[in-house]
């Protein structure tokens, strides 16, 4: 082979490599760490459709909530993240942007002319924008309300016993004190737990207690941002919470998580649960929960205000531009009205107002009208860089009080002091 042939072959090979580059480039694969809940399963079932439309593969790694934060933080603090699409809980909405882990989304929105106006403003404030920019797009809402058994309220024997106890008509409770009284009554008379409670220390009991606090008229912070937890309303809330754990809830409430309460309710072994409203379509599903389907309803938290929560989509900063663009393409698609309605038809908890008013959605799920009230009346846990740590601090005190290891006044004082310390640390 002469020099000329070698040169020709070399040039040819280089050309092949150059021309072949686009075809040989790895197609983008988006990987997200997702909470293992029905909302994730709904989206996961639709992923082939997205791949067909865009050629982008999306993979979900599903975990229980309690394991997500640490795994995400480890990835986000490394040079490059294994997760290039993020599901961000509102409790991390202070921490992640403050730590500089999330890409600012305004340039993506402007470039793609993505319409943010249908998103419920309170959701945008919770899991969208903060004072420094737009870091997330709301994904779904998880405000909390009361899911309860209608068949037990209609039971003639129980109604008679309730009336005999001088309580009047057996109907959904209007105040928190009424709720706890009813819960204890059901445990004593109906052969079920009055409340399926998620009392495990940390996120489960902090979220649950927040409903008790807000419905008693209490708050974590006042209007000026000062700690207001240690108040008469807070004390009432904690006393009622402890009373319900001890006398109304299922055995094992102090180690129970969300999954435990769902199983209990699904199995027909509880009268009620204070939980995320999107649980209703799951519990009311004849295939998943035949024991209670058709016998459950959703109500606003007795007292009028429950815990408000939500998840948002985010894009990690420590990924390349092409991947970030692919992640944005997915977020646009999954939160578009068309896909959001399709998700809602399977039980999705919308963050767009136009989905709540969609005729098909309302025809299938009349309770979505109540859900909108649950969302509208919700109040939020303090969102700041140490929200996750505060859940741990508060959860420990709640667990100590409910387990009888400390009294409610001391627990409340310690929880308030812990919040003050963390707020100072965040400044």
């Amino acid at each position: 082979m002469g020099l000329r042939s070698i040169l020709c072959a070399g040039v040819g090979l280089a050309a092949m490599v150059a021309l072949g580059t686009p075809a040989l480039a790895d197609p983008v694969t988006l990987r997200a760490l997702m909470e293992d809940v029905p909302e994730t399963q709904i989206i996961e079932a639709m992923l082939p459709e997205f791949q067909k439309e865009t050629g982008i593969t999306v993979e979900f790694e599903k975990l229980a909530y309690g394991d997500m934060h640490d795994k995400l933080v480890t990835q986000l603090t490394s040079a490059s993240s294994a997760y290039n699409l993020l599901e961000v809980d509102f409790l991390w909405a202070g921490e992640f942007p403050a730590a500089g882990w999330l890409a600012e989304l305004t340039p993506f929105v402007e470039k793609s002319k993505f319409d943010l106006s249908p998103f419920i403003p309170s959701m945008m404030d919770l899991v969208g924008r903060n004072k420094t920019g737009l870091y997330m797009i709301p994904m779904y809402n998880y405000s909390m309300g009361m899911i309860y058994r209608t068949d037990l309220l209609k039971d003639a024997k129980l109604a008679a016993a309730w009336k005999a106890a001088g309580k009047g008509a057996l109907e959904p409770p209007k105040s928190l004190a009424d709720y706890v009284t009813l819960s204890k009554f059901m445990k004593a008379n109906a052969g079920v737990a009055g409340a399926a409670m998620q009392g495990q220390r940390g996120d489960p009991n902090s979220m649950e207690f927040s409903n008790y606090l807000f419905s008693s008229g209490g708050a974590y912070l006042d209007k000026d941002g000062k700690v207001a937890l240690d108040s008469p309303q807070g004390k009432t809330a904690l006393d009622l919470y402890v009373d319900n754990v001890k006398n109304g809830a299922q055995q094992g409430a102090l180690s129970a998580t969300l999954d435990d309460t769902l199983r209990l309710m699904c199995d027909g072994k509880a009268f009620s649960m204070i939980t995320y409203w999107w649980m209703l379509p799951q519990v009311d599903d004849a295939k998943k929960c035949p024991a209670v389907a058709g016998k459950v309803a959703l109500g606003v938290m007795p007292g009028g205000h429950g815990e408000s929560g939500g998840w948002g989509w985010g894009i990690p900063k420590n990924t390349d531009a092409a991947t970030q663009q692919a992640a944005w393409t997915f977020i646009q698609w999954v939160q578009s009205k068309k896909v959001a309605v399709a998700r809602a038809m399977q039980g999705h908890a919308p963050v767009r107002s136009d989905v709540y008013s969609d005729k098909d959605v309302l025809a299938k799920y009349p309770d979505y009208a109540t859900a909108e009230q649950v969302v509208a009346s919700g109040e939020a846990f303090p969102v700041f860089p140490y929200s996750a740590q505060y859940e741990d601090v508060l959860g420990t005190q709640l667990s100590l009080a409910a387990g009888g290891q400390t009294d409610s006044a001391a627990a409340l004082k310690a929880a308030a002091s812990g919040l003050s310390d963390l707020l100072k640390k965040a400044k």
Binding site: G66, H69, D70, V73, T77, E95, A98, A99, A193, G199, Q200, R201, G202, Q250, Q251, G252, A253, L254, S255, A256, D260, R263, L264, D267, K269, P385, Y386, A388, Q389, D392, G395, T396, S399, L400, A402, G403, G404, Q405, T406
Partner: protein
């Protein structure tokens, strides 16, 4: 130094050096880095080692009531679990020592819990002990006994966790002690039988003293293991109810990942390391003191 010795020395180091280098990289580097972290201001919100803050993080940890609670709880937990493992392990090992048929089958069964990851063990037991839907309470109820709140009661959760830990770890102790028993010389027993010693006397005056070095190894390994317990706490209770199962390693984890303070987490871990090291050294020192005279006498006899 003779030429032969020099050559052997070089060859020895030549073989050992690659392994030692690897060890230095995979063990030494993280240890040194975490030591630097422990005296730095590194948090997840401030991802920089500077400025170094000396012993501030250690002081913060020592001033925390949670640390002292976790430390004493860990001591108690290690004591309970290691004692349980040793007593049960020795009993099973003694029984297995007398078994002749199907011995490999028993050993194979015994290794199953040991081969399982603590996370799987925790999840399985969590399901079994679920108060309302789990099989444990169902069986108790069938037997006419009250249902128990295994992991949700602050009085019971500690003991439940310790029981599960013993269930998983006991097979390791059984295997070590069984190997030790199999290696014991038979002559002293034959002599004891001639002298009319009972089985209990043989166990007390022959088996236990001769088994002491092996038992000590088993105990110290398990003590270190139990002092570092983390997985079971994480899966079963998350340290609750209240703080009734918050062991030291879980405390360190909370500081590092929930509190976002990697520096304080590292400081707490070093305190854990210091306690484990101190215990190990004290244990071996005691062992050596007790074995000293006989060992020295044996050495003297051999030399004479």
């Amino acid at each position: 130094m003779s030429p032969v010795w020099t050559r052997e020395w070089r060859i020895g180091w030549g073989f050992a050096l690659p392994g030692l280098t690897l060890l230095l990289i995979v063990m030494g580097f993280p240890l040194v880095y975490s030591a630097i972290m422990a005296v730095s201001s590194l948090t997840l919100m401030h991802p920089s080692l500077s400025p170094l803050v000396g012993g501030d993080n250690f002081a913060t940890i020592l001033a925390s009531p949670g640390f002292w609670h976790a430390l004493w709880l860990t001591f108690g937990y290690s004591l309970v679990t290691v004692t349980g493992e040793f007593v049960i392990g020795l009993g099973v090992a003694l029984m297995l020592d007398r078994v002749t048929a199907l011995k490999p089958v028993y050993f194979a069964i015994l290794t199953i819990p040991m081969a399982m990851s603590p996370v799987s063990v925790g999840l399985i037991w969590r399901m079994l002990l679920q108060p309302n839907l789990g099989i444990a309470n169902h069986l108790l109820e069938r037997a006419g006994l009250p249902r128990l709140d295994w992991l949700g009661s602050s009085d019971l959760a500690f003991w439940t966790m310790a029981g599960i830990d013993i269930w998983q770890q006991v097979s390791f102790v059984v295997l070590i002690l069984a190997a030790g028993l199999a290696a014991l010389p038979r002559e002293p027993y034959e002599a004891a039988e001639v002298d009319g010693a009972t089985a209990v006397q043989q166990f007390w005056f022959l088996t236990l003293p001769m088994l002491r070095p092996v038992a000590a190894i088993a105990i110290i390994i398990q003590l270190i293991n139990e002092f570092r317990t983390y997985d079971l706490t994480y899966v079963l209770t998350k340290g609750g109810p209240g703080t009734s199962t918050e062991v030291l390693s879980f405390f360190a984890y909370r500081r590092a990942f929930l509190g976002l303070s990697l520096n304080e987490g590292a400081a707490a871990s070093f305190m854990l390391l210091a306690v484990v090291l101190a215990m190990t050294l004290a244990f071996f020192a005691t062992l050596e003191r007790r074995a000293g005279p006989s060992a020295r006498a044996a050495a003297g006899g051999a030399g004479g």
